[in-house]
Symmetry: C2
């Protein structure tokens, strides 16, 4: 982290990419800490959330929905399965696929992570008023949507 005082070069201070990175890095730190304390990491939450919202899925689908590479889905699902948060079984209708299912433990864990994340949003957006939060979210959503389409 930028240590307190430290004069940041103006070039950086005013670049949108730098600002976004700073805030993102902070958010990242918060999320990493919060999740680590709950024994999870980013990929875990993303996968659990996708399973909760879309139901049992193949690993490839999970990857597409969460933006995680197929190969990284394998590892993360291994970890989740080892903790009984998720169950992996072959898909009888397509033998190439596995069906990943959220277990009751997984649901519980997800709800826990939800709380962690909610707390982080508040910390992250702390200095902003409700209106400003809405503004920021709207602007970021537009950027995210635009870049998701246009790549």
């Amino acid at each position: 982290m930028m240590t307190a005082d430290a004069q940041t070069p103006a070039r950086l201070r005013h670049a949108a990419s730098w600002l976004i990175n700073q805030v993102s890095a902070h958010s990242h730190r918060l999320v990493a800490e919060g999740f680590a304390a709950a024994g999870a990491r980013g990929y875990h939450f993303r996968l659990l959330a996708a399973l909760d919202e879309y139901g049992p899925s193949s690993q490839a689908d999970l990857g597409r929905r969460t933006g995680i590479d197929r190969s990284d889905v394998v590892a993360a699902v291994n970890e989740l399965a080892a903790k009984n948060l998720v169950e992996r079984s072959p898909d009888p209708s397509d033998r190439r696929r596995n069906v990943i299912t959220l277990t009751p433990d997984g649901s519980r864990h997800l709800r826990e992570l939800d709380k962690v994340l909610a707390g982080i949003q508040d910390d992250l957006l702390g200095p902003l008023t409700e209106d400003e939060r809405t503004q920021l979210t709207a602007l970021l959503t537009r950027l995210a949507d635009h870049h998701r389409r246009a790549g």
Copy 2:
């Protein structure tokens, strides 16, 4: 990257931390590509910018100004020195320190990276009007400032 269509879980889609991360990831990709094409990476730009704006500095100062860990400064300065973009010499007034100096080649390279970065800002903020860009920058600056102080 999130592949085009793919339904992102609502939980993620609406979290500020996720949005920021998405945009940051995109910005990151752009910067990485742009810099890679110029034979540089993020740390290099940050260090060169700090040297340009504050003059010859010790590695520790560079680290504080750019938010880069001391140990990572070592590696990055090694790389920059190997390309003659920077010169490392012992500080006669404090034998613990090195003085890192920007070379003419380094200045040239920095100006090149400046251009790359300027192009990226435009791409990144593409969908926003001038006013909206100002808004976004202001909001992000407040968040960054707040978290820089409060940690």
